[in-house]
C-alpha cells in the first residue's frame, strides 16, 4: 500500500483557494474542487430545520447576537444546513475548524514550504481568516469533541477580539479579530464547557423530522438533487438557486436596515423582565434577546420589534441560559417555558 509521494497542494493556502475559486462557476462555493456539477444542496431545498435556519439568519443579519450552536441527534443535517446557509449567503463555505487542527493553524504561523527555503512569510490562522471572511464565521463541527486547549484559544479570542501572537519567533498583536462562532454537536457525546456554551448567543435544537411527510420530502429532495446536479441545465436546481438568491437579497436588505428598526413600547422592559423571570446571570441574555428579536423583525420587513418577535426568539436565546449552567448541560425547553414567556410578555405574571 503506497501513497503518492508529493507535497500537499490541494487548496492549502488561501491564495490557492482564491485562484481555484475564480475558475469555479458562480454557484460553486470557494474551496470546492470544480468538477462541473454543484455539490452542495441549495439552502432553499433544506426541508424543515426552521429553528436552526432562523438562528443562522439572525446571526447573519445581526452579528452582535453572538454565535449559533446547533445541537441535535445524529443524522439531522445540522452540518448540511450550516454549509448550505453560508453558501447561499456569501457563496463560500464557512472557515472551518476541523477535528485534529493544530494550534499553529488556529493562531497562525509561517508558510512552511517557504520557510524551509529560508523565506519567512506569515500564514494567517483560522481565527484571523474567519474574521476576514465574507461570512465572518468560524464553523466548528462536532464542537463538543474539540480538544480543550483549542477551546481555550477560541474562548480567549472570541471574548476579547484580540489575538496576541507570541510564537515561533513571531510577535504581533492583532486587533478586531471578531467572528461569529457557529458550532454543531450531538449531545449524546457530552455537553459543552459552560464558558464555551456562554459564547453562543443562540442555541437551535435540531430534532429529527417527526412527520412521515417531511421525511418523505427530504428523501425525495436529496435524491432528486443528487440525480439532477449531474445534468448540465437542471430546472430544478436553477429554480432552487433563484430562491437562494431571493433569500440572500432579503437577508442583505435586513442587514442594512436592522439598526433602524425600533422597539415597540415596553418591549425592552419585558425583555429585562424575561431575563429576571428566568433568573439569568448577567445581562448578556436580555441583550441577545433584544438583538435577535430586532434582527427577526428586520428580516420580516417590520419597522418595529413587537412582543411576538421576542416570543419567537425566546427559546433559542434563553434555553441554554437557564438553571445553574455549571456543567454545560442544559434542560430541554418545555411547553411550560413557552407559557412563562407568554405570561411575561402578556403581563400575566403573578
Amino acid at each position: 500500500m503506497t501513497t503518492e509521494d508529493r507535497t500537499p497542494d490541494a487548496g492549502e493556502k488561501p491564495k490557492a483557494e482564491e485562484a481555484k475559486a475564480q475558475e469555479a462557476e458562480a454557484e460553486e462555493p470557494k474551496g470546492e474542487r470544480h468538477q462541473g456539477e454543484r455539490r452542495m444542496l441549495p439552502y432553499s431545498l433544506i426541508v424543515g430545520q426552521e429553528e436552526l435556519r432562523t438562528a443562522l439568519e439572525i446571526a447573519y443579519v445581526s452579528p452582535g447576537v453572538g454565535g449559533v450552536l446547533a445541537t441535535g441527534q445524529r443524522g439531522t443535517a445540522k452540518t448540511t444546513t450550516v454549509r448550505a446557509f453560508t453558501t447561499m449567503a456569501v457563496s463560500e463555505f464557512p472557515v472551518t475548524l476541523p477535528i485534529g487542527a493544530t494550534d499553529d493553524r488556529v493562531l497562525g504561523g509561517w508558510e512552511i514550504p517557504e520557510l524551509m527555503h529560508g523565506k519567512s512569510t506569515r500564514a494567517e490562522g483560522l481565527l484571523e481568516r474567519a474574521a476576514r471572511s465574507a461570512s465572518r464565521m468560524l464553523y466548528v463541527d462536532e464542537i463538543n469533541l474539540l480538544d480543550d486547549y483549542l477551546v481555550n484559544i477560541i474562548l480567549d479570542v472570541a471574548s476579547t477580539g484580540v489575538l496576541p501572537l507570541e510564537r515561533d519567533h513571531h510577535s504581533e498583536d492583532l486587533r478586531n479579530v471578531e467572528f461569529t462562532l457557529v458550532g454543531t454537536m450531538n449531545p449524546d457525546e457530552g455537553g459543552l464547557r459552560p464558558q464555551l456554551l456562554d459564547r453562543f448567543g443562540l442555541v437551535a435544537t435540531v430534532e429529527s423530522e417527526a412527520t412521515d411527510e417531511q421525511r418523505q420530502r427530504i428523501v425525495e429532495t436529496v435524491l432528486r438533487f443528487e440525480a439532477e446536479r449531474e445534468a448540465p441545465a437542471s430546472e430544478f436546481i436553477a429554480e432552487a438557486l433563484r430562491r437562494d438568491g431571493e433569500r440572500k437579497a432579503t437577508l442583505d436588505t435586513a442587514r442594512e436596515r436592522v439598526a433602524t428598526v425600533r422597539y415597540d413600547t415596553d418591549v425592552v422592559a419585558r425583555c429585562a423582565r424575561l431575563a429576571q423571570d428566568f433568573a439569568l446571570a448577567g445581562h448578556r441574555g436580555e441583550l441577545v434577546l433584544m438583538r435577535a428579536a430586532r434582527a427577526l423583525a428586520a428580516i420580516e420587513g417590520a419597522e418595529r420589534v413587537s412582543r411576538d418577535h421576542v416570543r419567537r426568539v425566546a427559546k433559542p436565546a434563553l434555553v441554554h441560559r437557564r438553571g445553574r449552567g455549571d456543567t454545560g448541560t442544559f434542560a430541554a425547553w418545555t411547553d411550560q417555558d413557552d407559557e412563562r414567556v407568554r405570561a411575561v410578555l402578556d403581563d400575566r405574571t403573578d
Partner: protein, 645 residues
C-alpha cells in the same frame, strides 16, 4: 424483486451499490473475519476502477487507451494511527524534510481510497474521530502544521465488527456506517472460495497471502453502474423508505436505503425506483419491515423454490455454486395492496428486533460507552507519567516524554533562517527549546477493578448492596474492568473459570456477568489464579500504570476443583481440600502485591462458614458478609448478582 440468498452475492451486490454512491459511505460487516476485509476492499477498489460499459468520457480518455481507470488505494486504518498519520505526514529523507498528505486526504486527480477498519470496536481514537469528520460529508478539511487542505471525501470505509460488541459503540459513530451486512455466513463462503481459487485447492488453510490473492481472483466481477441517468425515485418508493425507517433516529439511514434502492434499480436498468427495489435494499441491509418478523441469516440456507430467472445483478461466472434461486419468503411491501397473508409461526424465527437486525445500537438495552469520541483528557497517574498510545504531539512543557522526530521536524523548518542568523556552517542542526514537542497520549485508566464472581453461591442472597459501592467506585473513576467468573450454568467448561476484560463498567458483558444462573462446580483456584494475573497486568510491576487496583472476590470459599484439574480439563477423582488449598496458595501471591485493595464478599451461611475468612486472610482482604434474603436488610428481587446494581 428476487432476494439474493448466496452470502457472497449479497455482499458483492451491496459493495457494487456502494461503489455507485455519490458520497463517502461507511459499510460495517457484522461478524466478518477481519482477515477477509482486505479481499473485499481489493474487490471494491477493482470494481471502482472498472469503466462504465459503453459510456465513455469524451475529452478524458484518448481513443485506443484502455477503459480501466486508476485503481483506488486500499488503506488499512490500524488502531495505532495518530492524527499526524491521517491528515499530514512528514518524511525525513536525504533531501531533507518532506510533507505528504495523510492517509485520509484525497488529492485532485487521484481516485478516492478504500479504507479498511479491521475492528471498529478497537479502532484508535484518531480513526473514529476522523470517521465522524469525513464519512458522508459534503466537505472535509485538515488544518495541521502550517498546511490547510480542503477536499470532497469520496473514499468508502469498510469495517469489521463483532455483533456482540456493536452496542458498546457510540451510536453517533455507527450512524456514519449506515450500510450493514450480516457476515456470519459470508466467512465460510469466502474461505471456501479462497481454497477453490487456488490451483488444486486443498482443504487446509494455506499461507494467508496466497489465500487472499486466491480469494481476490475468485470473487466475480459485477457490471459497474455509474451515477449518470439515475432512476427516478417514485413517490410510492419514497413512502416505502419512510415506512421502513420511520422509527430510526435522523435521516441518514433513510437516505442510505433510498440510495441503495436506486443503485439496485440502476443495476436492473429500471427507469424508476419502485417499492420492490426498496424492499430488496432493506432485505440486504437487514432492515425489518415494521409489520413483519425479519428473517435473520439462518444457520442453514432457506428452502428454495424452483429456479427463477437470474436478476440483472446476479453472478453468472461462478462455477462452484448453484444458480441463484429465489427464497420462499419474498419481501412484502408495507404500502402494497396485495392479498392478506397469514402470519408465519413464531417458534423458530430466531432472534428478532434491533439486536438481531443490522442495527444493534437500536436495541433498548444497548449500552454505548459514554463520551467515547471525546478527546482523551490529560489524566495522569500519581507517577506523573503517561503510558497511553500517542495520539499526536504538543509543544513541550517539560522534558518528559519528548517526541524526538516531531521535535527535529519542528527544528528543521527554521534551519535555513537560523543558520543565516547565527553564521552557522551548513549541515549544523540548531535546536531551540521552543522546538521540543511532547506526545499527546491516550489516557489510560488510573484505576482498575478486578471482579471475581462465584455464581455457584448466590442463589439465596442479594448481592447488590454489597457490590454497589465497588461498582459505583469503578463507574465514578471510569476504571478498567476485568471480570473472572465461574460456577454458572452457561459456562463453556465447568472446570474452568472464565475471564474477560472491559473498557468500563458500562460494557454490556459486565451487566450480563452480574446476572448468571448458578451452576454446580466451583473452580475457585483457577479463578484466583486468573485474578492474580489480571492484578499483575494492571500493576505492571515497576512501571506504575494504575494508581490503584481493587479486587473484589464474591464467593462462599468452597472451591471444589483443584487448579490442576482446571488446567488439564479433567475431572479429578478425589478433591477434599485440594481446590481450596490451591486457592489460598495463589491468594498469598496477591497479598504480596502493592497498591491493591482486596475485598471478599461472602454469603452468611452455616455450611463451612470459616472458608471465606480463610480466603480473606490469605488475600489480606476485608471480608463483607451478605445476609440471606429476608434475613437482613437485603430485599433485592433480582435473581442475579446485579439485580439492582
Amino acid at each position: 424483486m428476487p432476494a439474493l440468498v448466496d452470502p457472497v452475492d449479497r455482499a458483492l451486490t451491496v459493495l457494487a451499490c456502494v461503489a455507485a454512491q455519490p458520497r463517502s459511505t461507511g459499510v460495517v460487516f457484522l461478524d466478518l473475519d477481519p482477515e477477509l476485509l482486505p479481499a473485499l476492499g481489493d474487490w471494491l477498489a477493482a470494481h471502482l476502477s472498472q469503466a462504465e460499459p459503453g459510456a465513455g468520457e469524451p475529452g478524458v480518455r484518448e481513443p485506443g487507451v484502455g477503459d480501466e481507470r486508476p485503481t483506488p488505494a486500499v488503506r488499512a486504518l490500524g488502531s495505532w494511527l495518530s492524527e499526524d498519520d491521517l491528515w499530514l505526514r512528514t518524511l525525513l529523507s536525504r533531501d531533507g524534510l518532506r510533507l505528504l498528505p495523510g492517509l485520509l486526504v484525497e488529492e485532485p486527480g487521484t481516485p478516492p481510497p478504500v479504507l479498511l477498519v479491521p475492528d471498529l470496536c478497537r479502532a484508535g481514537p484518531a480513526v473514529v474521530r476522523a470517521a465522524l469528520a469525513v464519512l458522508d460529508a459534503d466537505a472535509a478539511s485538515a488544518e495541521r502544521h502550517g498546511h490547510s487542505m480542503l477536499w470532497r471525501p469520496g473514499g468508502h470505509w469498510l469495517a469489521a465488527l463483532r455483533r456482540s460488541e456493536a452496542s458498546r459503540l457510540s451510536p453517533h459513530l455507527l450512524d456514519r456506517f449506515p450500510v450493514r451486512m450480516d457476515a456470519a455466513r459470508l466467512n465460510g463462503e469466502l474461505w471456501r472460495l479462497a481454497g477453490a481459487g487456488r490451483a488444486g485447492g486443498s482443504p487446509a488453510r494455506p499461507d494467508e497471502w496466497t489465500e487472499r490473492a486466491a480469494l481476490g481472483a475468485a470473487l466475480p466481477r459485477l457490471d459497474r453502474t455509474e451515477g449518470r441517468n439515475l432512476p427516478v425515485l417514485a413517490p410510492e418508493a419514497a413512502r416505502q423508505v419512510v415506512a421502513l425507517t420511520t422509527r430510526t433516529p435522523g435521516l441518514r439511514r433513510s437516505l442510505t436505503l433510498a440510495r441503495l434502492a436506486r443503485a439496485l434499480a440502476a443495476r436492473a436498468h429500471d427507469a424508476e425506483v419502485e417499492p420492490r427495489h426498496v424492499d430488496a435494499a432493506a432485505e440486504l441491509l437487514g432492515i425489518a419491515a415494521p409489520h413483519r418478523r425479519d428473517d435473520p441469516e439462518p444457520s442453514e440456507p432457506p428452502a428454495l423454490p424452483p429456479p427463477a430467472p437470474a436478476p440483472a445483478f446476479s453472478r453468472t461466472d461462478r462455477s462452484d455454486s448453484a444458480p441463484p434461486q429465489e427464497p420462499v419468503a419474498t419481501p412484502v411491501t408495507v404500502a402494497g395492496s396485495g392479498p392478506a397473508r397469514p402470519m408465519d409461526p413464531v417458534e423458530t424465527a430466531g432472534p428478532a428486533g434491533p439486536a438481531a437486525s443490522g442495527y444493534p445500537e437500536d436495541a433498548p438495552d444497548a449500552l454505548p460507552q459514554l463520551a467515547s469520541l471525546r478527546p482523551p483528557g490529560h489524566r495522569r497517574t500519581s507517577s506523573r507519567r503517561l503510558h497511553g498510545c500517542p495520539l499526536g504531539t504538543v509543544r513541550a512543557r517539560d522534558v518528559h516524554d519528548l517526541a524526538l522526530v516531531a521535535s527535529l521536524v519542528e527544528a528543521a523548518r527554521f534551519q535555513t533562517v537560523r543558520r543565516r542568523e547565527t553564521d552557522s556552517a551548513p549541515g549544523t542542526l540548531i535546536v531551540r527549546p521552543e522546538d521540543l514537542r511532547q506526545y499527546r497520549r491516550k489516557a489510560e485508566p488510573a484505576q482498575a477493578l478486578v471482579l471475581v464472581l462465584d455464581h455457584s453461591c448466590h442463589d439465596d442472597v442479594d448481592w447488590a448492596p454489597a457490590l454497589a459501592p465497588h461498582l459505583r467506585w469503578a463507574y465514578e473513576t471510569n476504571a478498567a474492568v476485568s471480570v473472572v467468573e465461574f460456577g454458572h450454568a452457561g459456562a463453556a467448561s465447568e472446570l474452568c473459570a472464565e475471564r474477560f476484560r472491559a473498557a468500563s463498567l458500562l460494557d454490556p458483558e459486565v451487566v450480563q456477568a452480574l446476572q448468571r444462573t448458578p451452576g454446580r462446580a466451583s473452580p475457585l483456584a483457577h479463578a484466583v489464579d486468573l485474578a492474580a494475573h489480571e492484578v499483575r497486568r494492571f500493576l505492571r510491576r515497576g512501571r506504575g500504570v494504575v494508581d490503584e487496583t481493587v479486587l473484589v472476590v464474591v464467593t462462599d470459599g468452597r472451591g471444589n476443583v483443584p487448579l490442576d484439574a482446571s488446567l488439564r480439563g479433567r475431572v479429578p477423582s478425589r478433591v477434599r481440600r485440594e481446590g481450596l488449598d490451591d486457592a489460598l496458595r495463589i491468594a498469598g501471591t496477591i497479598r504480596a502485591l502493592g497498591r491493591v485493595r482486596t475485598y471478599v464478599v461472602a454469603p452468611e451461611t452455616d455450611q463451612y462458614p470459616e472458608l471465606p475468612g480463610e480466603l480473606a486472610d490469605a488475600l489480606g482482604a476485608r471480608q463483607e458478609v451478605v445476609p440471606e434474603r429476608g434475613a437482613g436488610t437485603g430485599t433485592g428481587s433480582g435473581s442475579g448478582i446485579g439485580g439492582g446494581a
